[in-house]
């Protein structure tokens, strides 16, 4: 707990010199009044109580735009996360009024954190030609997609494409847990239930260890960040024992080591214009040396030869606009306005929009129901986009 929680918010903020940049760039401030620098100043001056009581920290998108532009790297989203814990435990506030879908998904995650719950996931989606097992060194961590199917459609296709990709490359059974539980991301960031998060993390670690996993591949931006940064932060040696890879990473490495190539059997005459939406968890939430944003672009440049033209949106990489909803928090007309802006940019950039976070996918797709003019954009997950264009190179020299 100490590792993810600092009871004295003030200590974390002392460096701030009130330049006000964060309030200028804050994505939320584009649609409502929101001034992180003012909140910071209030806390520094000793009005923390007032800030917590007002509940305004439930509004933050935890998109981390403010961190990217802060000269002294004050991590406001982290403050929000801890403040939410305090608001819940000291001020008796509840997030119910802010959480989307009335909190069903966070409730599910919470139930999964209980020691006596052992999920029994539906495995029907697993394609016939892919072999899975419950022990082995490569794990495909599916994430909560099967539960999101409760209200959203077609999410299995992300899991299917990802598993197919991994299986094609590895050519050996991939670990997929039938009793997989949530990584805890939403509980951690959105709900401020840090203890529940730790429970989930411990339960997960146990499962990884028992299955003898070495590499964890996931297609979800949030799971990736949670394992890679937050789990590594809580558990010593998590880094050494497990290698966490986002599917982009995974494909990139295999491509660079010439295990796969990109092909398009049905290349069309006309170039298809497409663009990419960077999820915050893969752009602003990772250490500087993590190049996923660039790696994915390198792959996309290669797609030029496959009849696809990659275009950037007006805001991209670290500056990309937020999909509007984080950790199932605050889906409202303001967040829709943010999403609308994003989709407008996407529309100018191409007919396909690729993302690598299932949640961005859900939220942006959801907006299409409200606006006919946006319905023409095809929103795809990275894995769905490349699945038919990956060819495994068979090396003859290897006898296996």
């Amino acid at each position: 707990m100490e590792k993810i929680y600092e009871p004295e918010l003030r200590n974390l903020l002392k460096k701030c010199y009130q330049c006000g940049r964060c309030s200028g760039v804050c994505q939320l401030s584009k649609v409502q009044k929101y001034t992180p620098s003012k909140i910071i100043q209030l806390i520094l001056e000793g009005f923390e109580n007032k800030v917590l009581e007002s509940g305004e920290l439930w509004d933050c998108l935890t998109c981390n735009q403010c961190l990217k532009d802060c000269p002294v790297k004050i991590n406001f989203a982290d403050i929000v996360r801890m403040a939410r814990y305090k608001m819940r435990h000291e001020k008796n506030q509840s997030s119910d009024e802010f959480v989307a879908h009335k909190g069903i998904y966070t409730t599910i995650s919470e139930i999964m954190s209980r020691p006596y719950i052992n999920p029994d996931r539906n495995m029907d989606w697993i394609p016939k030609n892919c072999k899975i097992s419950d022990k082995g060194d490569i794990l495909y961590y599916v994430g909560c997609l099967p539960f999101f199917n409760y209200e959203f459609e077609n999410l299995n296709s992300i899991a299917i494409s990802t598993l197919k990709l991994i299986y094609q490359i590895e050519k050996k059974p991939i670990v997929v847990f039938k009793e997989e539980i949530c990584c805890g991301h939403d509980i951690y960031w959105g709900q401020g239930k840090l203890k529940t998060f730790i429970k989930l993390a411990k339960k997960n670690l146990e499962k990884f260890k028992n299955a003898g996993v070495r590499t964890i591949v996931t297609a979800c931006a949030e799971c990736y960040r949670t394992f890679k940064i937050d789990y590594a932060n809580i558990f010593d040696e998590f880094d050494e024992n497990f290698e966490v890879k986002h599917i982009i990473d995974y494909i990139y490495e295999n491509w660079k080591s010439q295990k796969i190539e990109f092909k398009n059997p049905n290349k069309s005459e006309k170039e298809i214009q497409f663009t990419y939406h960077d999820p915050c968890r893969l752009s602003r939430f990772l250490p500087e040396n993590d190049n996923i944003t660039n790696k994915v672009r390198e792959i996309f440049r290669e797609f030029k030869y496959l009849g696809y033209q990659f275009n950037e949106m007006a805001h991209n990489k670290e500056n990309s606009l937020c999909c509007g909803v984080n950790s199932w928090m605050n889906c409202n007309e303001k967040s829709k306005a943010l999403r609308y802006k994003r989709m407008q940019e996407a529309k100018l950039a191409g007919s396909k929009l690729i993302t690598s976070c299932p949640k961005c996918n859900i939220h942006l797709t959801c907006l299409q129901n409200d606006f006919e003019d946006l319905a023409s954009i095809e929103i795809l997950d990275f894995s769905e986009f490349i699945i038919n264009h990956v060819k495994v190179i068979r090396t003859k020299s290897k006898g296996d």
């Binding site: 009335k102 909190g103 069903i104 599910i108 209980r114 719950i117 029994d120 539960f147 409760y150 009793e179």
Partner: protein, 127 residues
């Protein structure tokens, strides 16, 4: 247990005034219609420690709001298939039933049966 206001709650009343005995270990929450019972309520109840959740409404076709119970039925099917089952929770713990205002006896029987079933399954905590 969630009861809709128009039929099932009246059914519960009838069970009461007719002095039918039923197990005391359940709590009735009155809602206006079974369609009002968001599956989230059920999940929250389970999270907060309920061992089973019974939702009752008017018989199909009798709903005071015309089709609230049909809506409830649809939602519960999804909830069962996608959430309850995948969480590894025994599906018998969550049930949707129709009880009309005149079925006081059935109300009591239903509760007895449901309670016994849950007792058999034991508390949710130990599975």
């Amino acid at each position: 247990m969630f009861c809709c206001n128009w039929c099932s709650y009246a059914g519960a009343d009838l069970a009461g005034v007719s002095r039918f005995q039923y197990p005391p270990n359940m709590r009735i929450i009155r809602v206006m219609c079974s369609g009002r019972v968001d599956p989230v309520f059920v999940m929250k109840a389970l999270k907060e420690g309920a061992d089973g959740v019974l939702v009752t409404g008017c018989h199909i076709g009798d709903c005071h709001y015309i089709s609230g119970n049909e809506y409830a039925k649809e939602r519960f099917e999804r909830l069962h298939k996608i959430v309850i089952k995948q969480l590894g929770i025994n599906e018998k713990r969550v049930r949707l039933e129709w009880v009309s205002a005149s079925e006081g006896k059935r109300f009591a029987d239903l509760i007895t049966e449901f309670t016994n079933q849950i007792k058999e399954l034991g508390p949710l905590k130990v599975i």
